[in-house]
Symmetry: C2
Subunit: 330 residues, 2 copies
């Protein structure tokens, strides 16, 4: 079912601390150039005191301003992020507090499907917007990966960057903008291919010590994820287009998760997409977990590569292992 929603404003926040791949090479002790050649990332940002809620609030303020609205017009704040600021309460509540809206009553909650959190939240909330439950929601992804990287695991630690993206999403006039189709699949056969085993109820932080410390850091088997994703993606993409009159050829711009440069290139070729229809921004930001897709979307618009009326395809994989796709008319 088509959902008549429109992205009416966008904002982002990048941490103050800019980190080159040469700096990352120095951290892990490889020769200069290794990180960039492995990942395609030149620059990423790491927080330097900024919290998730601070970054999320900054992005949200910019998005609401961009929409020509004020927070009086906003009736829901959702954090669609793969990381949280604290175990309790929701990051969305902390963003509301940071925005100075602590007496507003604006409902706040989090949606989590790791790198797909923002896309899953967009997909789900679109039904509520279409039905009139909410008029203007702020959907934020604010991610801090830098605190949880395992610098002993070179292949994963060099990939990530921090930052936040927010969009204001409203109901659109019928047929002008909207989600045309969307689909999600989870294959937990890959649940342990990228994980942080600790930090929840299974391995409580009180169990943190020299022996267990890696349980609290990000652990990824990149090649295995890539292999599983590549196997699943072609059929998945077909399912997203099922029931529409469209095919991948009709899409103006594919906005993929920015997992890793080389993997993105291979997936692009596997799906038969030319470079000009594939938003790849990992070079300047790294993998920003669930903020990657909305940031690439935002960049596409800023660079004039995505215009109103264009058919855009948000597509990503995440820990879980999940695949998510949202086909929308911008």
């Amino acid at each position: 079912m088509r959902r008549n929603i429109r992205i009416v404003g966008m904002g982002m926040y990048l941490p103050k601390r800019k980190v080159t791949s040469a700096e990352v090479d120095a951290i892990i002790g490889t020769k200069e150039g290794w990180s960039e050649s492995k990942t395609g990332v030149k620059i990423r940002y790491y927080v330097d005191g900024e919290t998730s809620s601070f970054m999320g609030a900054e992005a949200a303020k910019e998005a609401v301003k961009d929409a020509g609205l004020t927070f009086c017009d906003i009736d829901c704040i959702i954090s669609g992020s793969g990381t949280v600021q604290q175990a309790i309460p929701s990051t969305a509540s902390l963003i509301q507090e940071q925005l100075g809206l602590q007496h507003s009553g604006i409902p706040c909650f989090d949606v989590n499907s790791t790198c797909l959190s923002w896309v899953t939240a967009l997909d789900m909330i679109s039904y509520a917007i279409e039905a009139g439950r909410y008029k203007n929601i702020v959907l934020v992804s604010s991610e801090i990966s830098s605190v949880g990287l395992n610098w002993g695991q070179n292949e994963s630690s060099i990939l990530f960057g921090d930052g936040a993206v927010a969009m204001v999403i409203s109901k659109s006039a019928s047929g002008t903008a909207g989600i045309i189709s969307s689909h999600m699949e989870t294959y937990s056969a890959g649940a342990h291919l990228s994980e942080i085993r600790g930090g929840g109820t299974m391995i409580h932080p009180r169990g943190y010590n020299e022996e267990t410390k890696e349980d609290f850091l990000f652990d990824m088997d990149g090649p295995a994820i890539f292999k599983l994703s590549l196997k699943l993606l072609p059929d998945f993409v077909e399912k997203v287009f099922q029931g529409t009159n469209l095919s991948l050829d009709d899409v103006s711009m594919i906005v993929p998760h920015q997992a890793s440069g080389p993997a993105m290139n291979l997936i692009r070729r596997k799906l038969g997409i030319s470079e000009d229809r594939f938003m790849k921004i990992i070079e300047n930001y790294g993998n920003m977990i669930s903020a990657s897709i909305p940031l690439a979307f935002y960049e596409g618009i800023r660079q004039g590569r995505i215009k109103r009326g264009d058919t855009v395809f948000l597509l990503g994989t995440s820990a879980g292992l999940s695949i998510g796709g949202v086909l929308l008319e911008y």
Copy 2:
């Protein structure tokens, strides 16, 4: 907007370890009877090796069986829980794995608004079910609070219990069962009245030590939460009924969050609800975070106090501070 959904199956799992209030009194070193008099809790359950995904899967299996379905009929698994098993991936993915459905592709994601997680997920997913996106979803709340209690903070530590509840939710024939109205509000003025400051990106587990250890444990100012909730609830309840032809008097059963026995009694009186229309089960389970409301709902049905066609009002507060209400025809 009414959403035509029906709860078609229910299941639950309680940990093997049953803990009396006398045992809790011994842990905190008070005289026998103190915990029960403070909380109204006689018995709660603590995990003894069980994980969130194990408990969630057991509850889900029972719910799917109760619905007369198999997992081939299930097209979405959502964890609406205030706690997670691991930092990455989502608990829903881990439940899928535990169910042996790792190659099924059934989409899995988490929704979090602490004690309201299950209710918020029900509220949001109802729009997607109504729109035909999903036919039969499993909505699980699986909570382990026992690992994160601060035994130096008597008032909060004695309240909680572990366990899981799952329901299968399907589309109903128009007008037979459904959500009549729902509403949510968040007042982050109360964001730090109940929290776990650590475990996320702000205070990473690597910072765990003797000095910081309380940051990784549940911290609650019960009287302040109660005061704020009591102030907000009457107006909130009015808003849930706005636009319906119903009032609180038309509700067959109020199913509240099981926050604490004495607080529940005071709120019940403030709202002018008689005991027979108020599902209070905290005595036998403690506060089970977001599993409390679905468990009280389940108990109401098992005890014959809630019947098909009854108007049921799910109502709770959560860390955030959020208030949520779902008015439904069962």
